[in-house]
Structures are given as C-alpha cells and as structure tokens.
C-alpha cells in the first residue's frame, strides 16, 4: 500500500500539472496542507492568474513572496498542523523585474531593459511570460531554502508543457549562436541574417524591429546569468527531489490531456511521481439495476421515493461506468501503483474544511 505522503517523502519540489477544470489548484493546496500537517515547512506557489488559491486559502492579497497562512481554520477542521504553510500567487511583472535587476551587469542595463517597450509587453500583457517567471520564482525559493518543500501549481495542460520547456527555450535562444547572429552578424551569418532582417523589417516595420532587436541585444548582456539560471532550473527539474504530480478528473478529455502530459514529461526525461484522479464517482459493486436498488430501499424510504432514488442511482452509475473506462485508460498508460483518487463530495472544495477533507482523501487512501 503506498500513500501519497510516502511518494512525496523525499521531495523538495512538488509540481502539480494537469488540464484546466480538474481541481488542480485545489489539489495543490490540499497537498501543501497535508505536507504542512506532516511537520514540514511548505511554500505553495500558484501561477494561475485567476484568484483561485487566494480564495481557497482565505487570502485576499498575496505578495510576490509566500505569506504565512493562518492554520487555525484548518486545525478547527480537525487537522493537526505540525509544520508551517506559506502561500503566494506569482506576480509575473514583479518577478520578471526582479530577475532582470538581479542578472543585469549594471544598473544602466537593467533600467534600459525595464524601459524597453518589448520588455514592457513581455512582462505585463502577454501569456507565456508566466512560464518563465514561475520557473525563476521556483528556483529562487528553492535556493533560499527557507522551506522544506515547495508545491507549485501550473497553468492548464498544453501550456504546462510550455512551462517545462520555457527555460530551455529562452536559453537556447539567448545562449545559442542565434542571438549573436541577430545582434552581431558576420560572414555567412550576415547574409542569412540580412535576409531575415529585410523580411522582418518589411513585416514588423522599423520601429518594432528596433525595439525587438535592442531588447534581445540588451538581454544578451544578461546571457551568462540566464544560461546558468536555465541550466540550474533544468537540473532542479530532473533532480530526484522534484516530484511531478499529474492531476486529472475521470472525464475523457482531461484524461486524454493527462496521458499527453505523461508522454511529454517522459520526452523531457522526467517521470511523474503520482497520478491524482480528482472528483471521481465510485462504482456500486452491487450494480446499477434500479429495480434491485428500489427493492433494497423500499422498507426505509417507501416505494415511491425508493424508485426515484433508484433512478438517480442508475444515472450516477452510468456516469461512474463511463469514468471507470477513463480511469482504466489512465492507469494503463500512467501506471496503477501511484494512483490516488478523491471522490466528488457534491459540495465544492474551496475552504479550510474542504481542503482538510480533500487532504484526508489524498493522504489516507491508497489504490
């Protein structure tokens, strides 16, 4: 019998990935609460732009560093908390600014980058930057070593993969010859780059091309720092102390995405430590025949109510059977040994009571 807690016993980083809408943020929060209960100092980081985590933990305004979570409501809900929990929501702009300031060779370069319009756009407006910054934040927190374990929530599936590749992508651009060709072209490269530039100028216009190239030229000054950082982040991701947790619901579409994620992780040389199937509906071992259920309940409920209960049960079982097919596909691909389930309890999980309940489901049941 393996428990989720045992699976995460030696973990310093827990990364929760999965499709949107499967309760990934809630699972991440419950895992963090469970690890804190176990006596660890836990930091919970979400990069989801929706204010889910804030709500789940009753926090209104999270800074860009983990803030201590008052565990009293969790203790009131029956949790014995022997450790500590800090939680934060990633502030993309601030994390990016901090990173640039830290890596820039001097103040002037940092200021120039911070004032560049392309940087402005990258650090504020557009999706994609959260992936870079989440990695940066994860790494910072890990390096600070103020926590025993960092639990990280990630954006939905396809971009969760982007997220994993983000440091590699940025460093292969910044670290490769490509950037040098672009900002300091010579020889053969000059001819090729000349063509690229001519096309880019025509499409983007001179102003945008200038901003883009000067942005990357300025970033070039931070090259060594970025390259080291990316290598460090990659090392952290493949480190055995980093555990990937794939979260799925038993619905067909999230299950497909979970399988896709498992494949992508494997391609990157990473392995998921555990699979969490959230909000599942248990199959009735006695079957779903409405007549039998109605017969069973007739004496307690009366014939008419028993019949209605039985027909609800038949529908419920229809859903449970459908889910079992998804679960079978999931476990066939991702393995059965470290699969943990949490049943759908009807009510939403969004407060301390709910998180403690989910935490028990995950940490005390085993497949």
């Amino acid at each position: 019998m393996s428990r989720l807690l045992d699976q995460l016993d030696d973990s310093q980083v827990v990364i929760c990935t999965g499709a949107g809408g499967v309760g990934k943020t809630t699972v991440a929060a419950a895992v963090a609460v469970g690890l804190a209960a176990d006596g660890r100092r836990v930091a919970l980081v979400t990069i989801d732009p929706a204010r889910r985590l804030a709500e789940a933990l009753g926090l209104d305004n999270l800074g860009n560093d983990p803030q201590p979570v008052d565990l009293t409501p969790f203790e009131r809900a029956g949790l014995e908390a022997r450790g500590e929990l800090g939680a934060m929501m990633l502030n993309v702009k601030r994390t990016f600014d901090e990173l640039v300031t830290r890596l820039a060779p001097d103040h002037a370069t940092a200021d120039q980058i911070l004032a560049n319009p392309v940087y402005e756009q990258i650090s504020t407006a557009v999706a994609g930057s959260q992936e870079y910054t989440a990695m940066a934040k994860l790494f910072e927190l890990h390096r600070l070593a103020s926590y025993d374990v960092i639990v990280l929530d990630t954006p939905p599936s396809r971009s969760a993969v982007d997220f994993l590749r983000a440091p590699q992508r940025l460093s292969s651009f910044l670290g490769g010859r490509a950037l040098n060709m672009l900002v300091r072209p010579t020889g053969m490269a000059m001819r090729m780059t000349g063509l690229v530039f001519a096309v880019l100028r025509r499409i983007m216009g001179v102003a945008m091309l200038d901003d883009v190239t000067s942005f990357f030229a300025l970033l070039g000054g931070l090259l060594e720092g970025f390259r080291e950082r990316a290598a460090d982040v990659e090392a952290l991701l493949v480190d055995p102390s980093t555990a990937f947790l794939i979260v799925s619901s038993p619905e067909p579409q999230p299950a497909r995405e979970a399988i896709y994620l498992g494949d992508e992780l494997a391609k990157l040389g990473l392995r998921h430590r555990a699979l969490v199937i959230n909000r599942l509906h248990p199959l009735d071992p006695d079957g779903s025949d409405p007549a039998r259920a109605a017969e069973r309940l007739r004496s307690v409920l009366g014939g008419e109510l028993a019949a209605r209960v039985a027909s609800v049960h038949a529908e419920f079982q229809l859903m449970a059977e459908r889910e079992q097919a998804s679960i079978d596909r999931l476990t066939a691909t991702l393995g059965r040994s470290a699969t943990f389930g949490a049943v759908d309890r009807g009510a939403d999980v969004h407060d301390a009571d709910g998180l403690v309940w989910l935490c028990r489901e995950l940490f005390q049941t085993a497949d």
């Binding site: 929706a50 889910r52 990258i122 939905p156 063509l195 001179v206 049960h313 529908e315 859903m319």
Partner: protein
Amino acid sequence: MGRSTVAAAIAAAGARAGRRTLVAELAGRADVAGLLGAEPGHGLDEVMLGRDLYHVSIDRQATLRDYLDHEVPGPLPAGRLTRSRTFALLIDATPGMGELLSIGKVWELAGKRRRRSGARPYDLVVLDGPASGQLMGLLRAPRTFGAIARMGPVARQTKGINRMLTDPAQTGVVLVAAPEQMAVTEAVALASDLRSDGVAVDQVVINRTVASPFSREDEQTLAGAGGEDAALSSARWLDERAGVQRQQMSRLTEDLDDIPQTELPFLFGGIDRQAIEDLATRLGGGEP
C-alpha cells in the same frame, strides 16, 4: 469547463441555420473535431465535417508559414525563412508571438476576403478559446504588438484584428462556466476584463447543471435513512450538488444580470454526436 462541447454545439447550431460555419481550435488541438465525430485535417486544412460545417486546427508553425507565404511573396520562399533557425528561435522566444499569430489567423479566417485565393469566406467562425487565464493574453496580443510596431504591416494588421475583436457586430464572447464556486468567480472576473477591453460578452452558458428530484421532506427522509447504501449516497450526492449549483447560479445571475444566460444540463451518459445536436437545439439552433 466544457468549452469544447459548447463550441461544438454553437457550431452545429450555426450550420443548422444554414450559415457557412467554421469551428477553430488552437495549439493544434482537435477536441471539437473529435466531439463532432471527425478526423482533424493537417496543417491549416479547413476540413468539411458536414453540411455548412468546417473545422480547422490552428497550429503555430503552419500559421507562421501561412502568414509569411502571404506577406513575403517573391524570391524568398517562406519555407526557407521559417526553417531559418534564427527566425524560429526569435518567434519562439518572443512571448506573445504565438498568441498574435493565432488570433491573426482567426481574423483571416473570419475575413470577407480570404488570404488564399479560392478560399471562401465563412458566415460564422467559432473559436474554441483557451482557459480563462489565457484568453486575455490572446485577445490583447494584437494591441500590445500594434503599439510597439506603430507602422508597417504588423501595425496595420493588428489594428484590423483589434477592430474585429472590439466590434460587437462582428465578435461576441460566449462565457462557459460550470455552476461551481471557482468557475463562477473566474467567469465574473473574465467578463469584467473583456468589457474593460471593449470586447462584447454575448452570452453566459451555465454548463453541466443538475436538478434534484427531491423535496425538503424527501431530503429529511434521505438524511434520516442512515446506512451506507450506494443508492442513498448517489441521491444525497445529487441533492447536495444541485444545492451548491443553485447558489452559484444565483451568484452568476446577480453579478452578470445584463448578459443572457443559457443552462445546459449535465449529461450522465457522456457527450456524443447526438448530445451535441441536443445542446445545439437548446442553444437556439432550431430543430435539426
């Protein structure tokens, strides 16, 4: 939650009404195609799924090639440029470029004059959008890049894309939310973001709703029945879920009271082609 299902149903309703309809998916996905029981095409192929119903999967690499083919006619083949390592890395490393290309392709697909000669325009383009956290990034990409470019084709095109997105006669967002605490919170926040950006929200689809067949009295009987009977658990679960949903639905109704709302039932037996057609009817697509 259930975005692809609703996108498929809207597209089915559009086609049924005799409008030439295209349903588009991002990042090379083909969930809607699967729901409509069809195989997705390759690259940017617009595949016919049925009468007046087409599907396209917007893949980044293909979109870039498609764009360059059009923008860079003449001696320099786009293929060579897209294969250029420098160029690919530049596009890949510039955050937001993928979003810009995607929304630009949607603009092209929805345009009166199509880029590829011989391609016919559509009456309706249904985009199976990204999750709420990523939608604003997608919709804002043209404006932010446009502000940087100032002049040239990118500046001109981003202006056109933005004009389409902020014209309520051309573009409307359908928000899909399950009646759950967090989904409702996100939907309300997203509606406010969209409106402050000048994007119209046409409709809220409350998806996966369940109804409880039990009265107060029944509830008491069920609660008092005790025991671990699985059928009783199912009944209590449904009743609990329906109660939570009622609360969340009234939150939605209060917070977004000026947007039309449609409820779609949760389908215990799962989604198949027939279910999509039923949902299309509920969304006002008339009888098939």
